[in-house]
Amino acid sequence: MKQVTMTVNGRSVTQLVEPRTSLADFVREQLRFTGTHLGCEHGVCGACTVLIDGEPQRSCITYAVSCDSAQVTTIEGFDDDALMADMRTAFHENHALQCGYCTPGMLVTARDIVRRLPDADEKRVRLELSGNLCRCTGYVGIVRAILSVLAKRKAA
């Protein structure tokens, strides 16, 4: 076991971890932030996407032990984030989820698209979403939700 200290959703935590424990399993099993979902566990499906030091990364192929001193934000950590609040509303209004399994990762990626690419069109949004798989919606609602937040920000 190795000791690791990191900030998760604004709170400093120090815990012992097995080196092989992924960041995803760490936040789910040891910190009980179960909003982070595990799908493929090899970096393809995007369900486990969280922010590490402010950037979206895969928590299933990142070891908790290697995140010592990092700032981690899971889906539970966006309560005070205005952009994420807009995105949640847009997902709701555009039927951008059905079963919800992909949604935590989708929201983290969607927020990053708006933050990084304010001029993205539908084609670009779809390309940027290629690392997050949804098996329910066919992506139409998700793309529409992201485009609506982009348009709202442009108009503001």
Partner: protein, 274 residues
């Protein structure tokens, strides 16, 4: 889908990393971004006894421009190049390639050095860096050495980097103002492993032309005969590219041969139109 047990040590500098590599009895892997190693360990294709994490070594994160080259430290992440945080010395070549590797979440953690030294045939950087004429700086307890990428890859997932050596970074020659390049990757879905990669760099001011075929069953393949043709400004059809492939590699089945010929021909067309 969970990795087998392993030990973990974090290296504070390159000398410490080399010491940890030398001191380990079993199968040891260096961990940089872990975006290839992580999946392989989760799938238990790789079961190292020890991971030496070099991710915190600041010296490996440097980007340095000299008068005729750009040095990219091994730990520079793909997204940094995608976002233009490295000086553009290659007329947008490196930036374009970086932005089309896997997915943004992977590009935020994966490293250029890790990709090159992992030497996955389907990886972008091995093929792209070979076409750009890059060389690798490798450090061991006995000092540093520089190896051109044309002598670096020894096969799929295999390089000249020894078990107690660390890749420090890559030196990429600066392109002249009239350099042209083309890069064509055939994937079934954006971000997936490539079925084929064609990479072309032509720089008449430096008398330089390279055509490289990647995502094969082994190391990326240089095609000097095609490079001469492209340097002379001659178009290369899919049939021409297929014939050039036959001259250097006889093992492709008709499907792979066609995919590879198509990627090469399209990359060359893009370079000539640039």
């Amino acid at each position: 889908m969970k990795p087998a047990k392993f030990d973990y040590e974090r290296a504070t500098d390159v000398a410490h990393a080399i010491g940890l590599l030398k001191g380990s009895g079993g199968f040891t892997k260096i961990l940089a971004g872990g975006q290839s190693l992580g999946p392989m360990m989760n799938l238990r294709l790789a079961q190292p006894d020890l991971l030496v994490d070099i991710g915190r070594i600041e010296a490996l994160k440097r980007i340095e421009k000299t008068h005729d080259s750009l040095f990219i430290g091994a730990l520079v992440r793909h997204a940094m190049i995608e976002d233009g945080k490295a000086p553009d010395t290659t007329r947008g070549y490196l930036r374009s390639i970086a932005g089309n590797i896997a997915y943004r979440a992977v590009r935020n953690r994966g490293t250029v050095g890790g990709s090159v030294v992992h030497a996955d045939p389907s990886g972008d950087w091995p093929t792209a860096m070979l076409a750009a004429g890059a060389s690798a700086r490798i450090t061991s307890a006995n000092g540093a050495r520089s190896v051109g990428l044309d002598a670096f890859f020894t096969g799929a997932y295999s390089t000249v980097v020894g078990e107690d050596e660390v890749l420090e970074g890559l030196s990429v020659p600066a392109f002249s103002d009239h350099a042209r390049w083309g890069y064509y990757k055939i994937c079934r879905k954006p971000g997936e492993f490539a079925d084929s990669i064609g990479a072309v760099v032509i720089d008449p001011a430096r008398s330089y032309a390279r055509v490289v075929l990647g995502a094969t069953d082994g190391a990326p393949i240089l095609l000097p005969a095609l490079a001469s043709r492209v340097a002379a400004g001659q178009a290369v059809s899919i049939a021409d590219a297929g014939a050039a492939i036959d001259a250097v590699h006889s093992g492709f089945d008709p499907f792979d041969r066609q995919i590879h010929a198509t990627a090469l021909s399209r990359a060359i067309t893009k370079a000539l139109a640039a």
